[in-house]
């Protein structure tokens, strides 16, 4: 647990279920029982075929950097003391993409295509946030 504050969020419905699973240190995505679509973020209907028969699946948390940016300004006052920080889009091995961050890295060392793995930052008693580190590195 870093205890670092993050900008507040108000997840509802399936969004809340995603964050409940993050509390258990699982990254949830969905598969469609009718058309095999891989679905993220969580939905109530399949964007591939309209089916409501969606099943929750747990990701390996392994993937690669699709792209990244290092911000030299904070996107929220709560993050002011973390500047500069590096955000990533990660393509998970199961075939979906998430936005997250790569805390504590040397920005100059980050590149498209690098392998990354998920870790789980327990912010407080209620919220866990998904973060990434380069495969084989400590976070």
């Amino acid at each position: 647990m870093t205890g670092t504050a993050v900008p507040p969020i108000t997840p509802r419905g399936e969004e809340a279920r995603y964050y409940e699973r993050l509390r258990a240190h699982e990254v949830t995505y969905q598969g469609c029982a009718d058309c095999d679509s891989v679905i993220f973020p969580l939905r109530t209907v399949c964007p591939g075929c309209g089916s409501e028969s969606l099943e929750d699946r747990v990701s390996s948390g392994r993937g690669s950097i699709h792209s990244f940016t290092t911000q030299h300004r904070a996107g929220h006052p709560l993050l002011a003391d973390r500047v500069p920080y590096t955000l990533v889009l990660v393509d998970l091995d199961e075939g979906f993409r998430v936005m997250a961050d790569l805390p504590g890295v040397d920005p100059e060392s980050v590149a498209v295509g690098q392998s990354v793995e998920a870790w789980f930052d327990d912010i407080d008693e209620r919220l866990t946030v998904l973060r990434f580190r380069r495969a084989g590195e400590d976070s």
Binding site: P7, I9, H66, S67, T69, H72, R82, L87, V98
Partner: protein, 381 residues
């Protein structure tokens, strides 16, 4: 049935495009509307259609109409970010053709500069993205740029060409907010905000109001101004949240522009002036590729050597657009007004000789929404 050539822009006005002295966002919209109507030889009493979008007002057609004391019978507040106003042109033409209104005003106003540089927005953030503090939109465009560089070898110097060209165009206006030329070196040595994008890769943050008036092509012939006909429009979109953008380096602009050109019955090669949303150097580069001015991935080489600067092959963003002239939160309206100026032959030192056809491309959010319009000072054949 098509709206090709059925409506025309007969009035246009913009005010306080850098810093306003005492006008609110709706105040900027309102004075733009009355001046655009005067340009057309019409009055507020003639207006029965209102088209607008706003980052300030949840119900902007109500806010603007109350302020102006008008009671429109048709309104449209389609909100697709900076592309909204280009989309409104097509919607207005359709409403006029359907008899739902006769005199349509499209309006926008913002005090983003007076608001001390704080990006004003009512937009909600996704619970999947908000914890990470991505700055909308520059953080997203940093990721687009890094991806484009990794895929195609695009360089910061190539991106800087677009900022340099925009500055050169803006120096041909009478109200250039930054009246000195820019060099590639100055752009790439300005502070990095969201890697690899520098401060001078970003659009300006300005105030500004703008409005245009549309009527049927038939009625336009009886009005005092030279009509600018709406020959074609097209729209396309593919995401809301940046993390779900299907392809960071290729957008639906290819579809919206193809739809607009097809409706207009013209090809890209026939276009005389081009007005493309330039929130950032990288977003403009990607759009130039998607609009078909060069192949995907070749945008960097395409813009080298001043090809889109004054005197170059492509008359692009002839007043300096968002990168060097005006960007009050959303730019689309001001792209339309500059095209109208060019097609009226009223663009002064930056006038493109004998301009007859213009393409305007609005983009909304993180390359998410697109609206393209083809305008001409010649009635449809």
């Amino acid at each position: 049935m098509s709206i090709r050539g059925t409506a025309a822009i007969v009035g246009a006005a913009q005010v306080d495009t850098f810093r306003t002295e005492g006008r609110s966002p709706v105040g900027l919209m309102a004075v733009s509307v009355t001046r655009a109507l005067a340009d057309a030889g019409l009055t507020l009493a003639d207006v029965d259609g209102v088209f607008t979008s706003s980052s300030y007002y949840a119900f902007p057609s109500l806010t603007l109409s109350e302020y102006l004391g008008i009671h429109p019978r048709f309104v449209d507040t389609t909100a697709i970010g900076g592309a909204s106003f280009v989309a409104h042109l097509g919607h207005a033409a359709a409403a006029i053709q359907a008899g739902l209104c006769e005199v349509a005003v499209v309006a926008y106003g913002s005090t983003q500069r007076s608001d001390a540089g704080k990006l004003v927005s009512m937009a909600e953030s996704s619970p999947y993205e908000a914890p990470y503090g991505l700055i909308h939109p520059i953080g997203a465009f940093g990721m687009v740029a890094n991806r484009h560089m990794a895929q195609y070898g695009t360089t910061s110097e190539q991106l800087a060409e677009l900022a340099v060209a925009a500055r050169a165009w803006s120096l041909l206006t009478d109200d250039a907010p930054y009246p000195a030329p820019l060099t590639i070196d100055e752009v790439v040595s300005s502070p990095v905000i969201a890697s690899p994008l520098h401060k001078l890769d970003c659009c300006l943050v300005t105030d500004g109001g703008g409005a245009v008036v549309l009527v049927s092509a038939e009625r336009a012939r009886d009005l005092r101004s030279d009509p600018v006909y709406l020959l074609g429009t097209g729209e396309a979109q593919n995401h809301r949240n940046f993390s779900q953008m299907p392809d960071l380096t290729s957008t639906e602009a290819s579809r919206s522009s193809a739809r607009a050109l097809e409706m207009a019955g013209v090809t890209l090669g026939e276009i005389d002036t081009v007005h493309v949303y330039d929130a950032f150097t990288i977003s403009l580069l990607v759009l130039l590729e998607d609009l078909g001015f060069c192949a995907k991935g070749e945008g960097g080489a395409f813009v080298e050597g001043g090809r889109v600067a004054p005197g170059g092959e492509l008359a692009l963003n002839t007043n300096g657009a968002g990168l060097s002239h005006v960007h009050p939160g959303m730019l689309g309206m001001f792209l339309i007004i500059e095209a109208v100026q060019q097609l009226r032959g009223a663009a002064g030192r930056r006038q493109v000789p004998d301009a007859r056809l213009s393409l305007v491309h609005g983009m909304g959010l993180t390359l998410a929404a697109h609206a393209t319009a083809v305008l001409s000072n010649q009635p449809p054949a």
